[in-house]
Symmetry: C2
Subunit: 258 residues, 2 copies
């Protein structure tokens, strides 16, 4: 079975953590895909360039200048740094963005009605299972390559689009019928957010609903888990949420299933 692993900013921003993760990921066996997010370098670069980040209702608006910066940072520096670190560990990594081989063709997000007016989120791409070109992705994997995907996609009309990396990872995992490991900053989904020892080992839709009603799962964890359950309904075999440093520990983290 193919394994899709997603890492976020907390790994990418910490060069030692990134090196350790790459060593661990390289030591995994079998066909696999790595999906990475952006991290703080994108915002830092924007700040240094004097580009004011625009957020509406907590969501980043990606104007043309911001798109250029995130493409440079995510598809350029992060993607190539990760590929070179994995190569140094003997992992046959190859970095891609969605435009490459048309691996992921996204739909530019339509303006949303917020507070009575239409808000255009700019160069933001929505992706789902059907956006993923499994023929090309499987072809690359058959060649023995380990695809490393940045969250920059395209619309098929010559425009690049920025996509949430969790969504990319879910879409790729469901399209490939893969196992998905989402790495984040905590050791798993916690029963008590202030106690890192309170990892919930397994979650299904029933226990998830109960924990949400008790208020134990809230805030940023809700979209992450909604995303995980959607991915499972669309073909992903198993989703595990864990810390990147626990990648090689099969018992670590929270296993999400239907």
């Amino acid at each position: 079975m193919i394994r899709v692993v997603k890492i976020g900013g907390n790994v990418i921003d910490d060069s030692l953590a990134l090196e350790r993760f790459c060593k661990d990921f390289a030591s995994l066996d079998g066909p696999r895909v790595l999906v990475h997010g952006g991290g703080a370098l994108g915002s830092r670069m924007q700040e240094r360039l004097g580009i004011e980040p625009v957020r509406i209702e907590g969501r980043r608006v990606t104007d043309a200048e911001t798109l250029q910066v995130v493409t440079m940072v995510y598809a350029g520096w992060c993607n190539k740094k990760i590929a070179s670190l994995l190569q140094a560990e003997g992992c046959p990594a190859a970095g891609f963005s969605g435009c490459d081989g048309n691996i992921i063709c996204a739909a530019r997000r339509a303006p949303l009605e917020i507070g009575g007016k239409a808000v255009d989120f700019g160069y933001v791409g929505d992706v789902g299972k059907d956006s993923v070109n499994t023929r090309v992705l499987l072809g690359l994997i058959s060649m023995g390559l380990v695809p490393v995907l940045s969250p920059i996609n395209h619309d098929g009309c010559g425009n690049l689009l920025n996509t949430n990396a969790d969504t990319v990872a879910s879409a790729v995992a469901s399209a490939l019928g893969a196992e998905l490991t989402v790495c984040f900053e905590k050791p798993g989904v916690l029963r008590d957010v202030s106690d890192s020892g309170s990892v919930i080992p397994a979650l299904d839709p029933v226990s998830y609903r109960a924990l949400k009603e008790e208020g134990r799962i809230a805030d940023g964890m809700v979209p992450k888990l909604d995303n995980a359950f959607r991915s499972l309904r669309e073909g992903t075999v198993r989703v595990t949420i864990k810390q990147a440093s626990d990648l090689l520990d099969p018992g670590a983290g929270t296993v999400i299933s239907l």
Copy 2:
């Protein structure tokens, strides 16, 4: 036969010229590889970030900060923009840098003795025919993909290295035994640099030496032509130097042969 085409900054910096070039390149038949340089965006980005460009003896020194900028610009923005434009024209392009699939493993340039002291050019990679992983490159071409290569390579030890794009194109063409088309700002090698109608249709080592002795070929044209002749000696079948806008005209430009 595989065709390798190289474009430089004059095409990349002009969005209309780039779109026109992508349309022409997409209309070519057969297996092909595109190699692109950087263009002015790299220097402009460095300037906006307040990074002082360092040059020694006319050569850019690539320190860690400069490497990050050129990786962002060349491997990120330029590479992905070109791949997305080609995809929009129906060309199955896929952007790569040397680290991806270990396509090009470069040797970090050793310090050079200049004016009695050793000068370290930083993260600069030298490549030759043997640096090119033809197995992976031919595998990608067999999949029907059209590789688009940025001049950012790696050293196999986790470091990215900046390489001259003309050298990358020559190395790739000789490793693949390909035909090489080098696009630049003039319609070919000129007998009189001030007369764009004075294109020399063909050059071989004998006529090249004679024109150099007459002073008709000088300055930036010399390393370009030395590079072309080296590439031919190492396996490239034919080198044509022409304007990007003449890509589809088989009679345009200067054909270099041994």
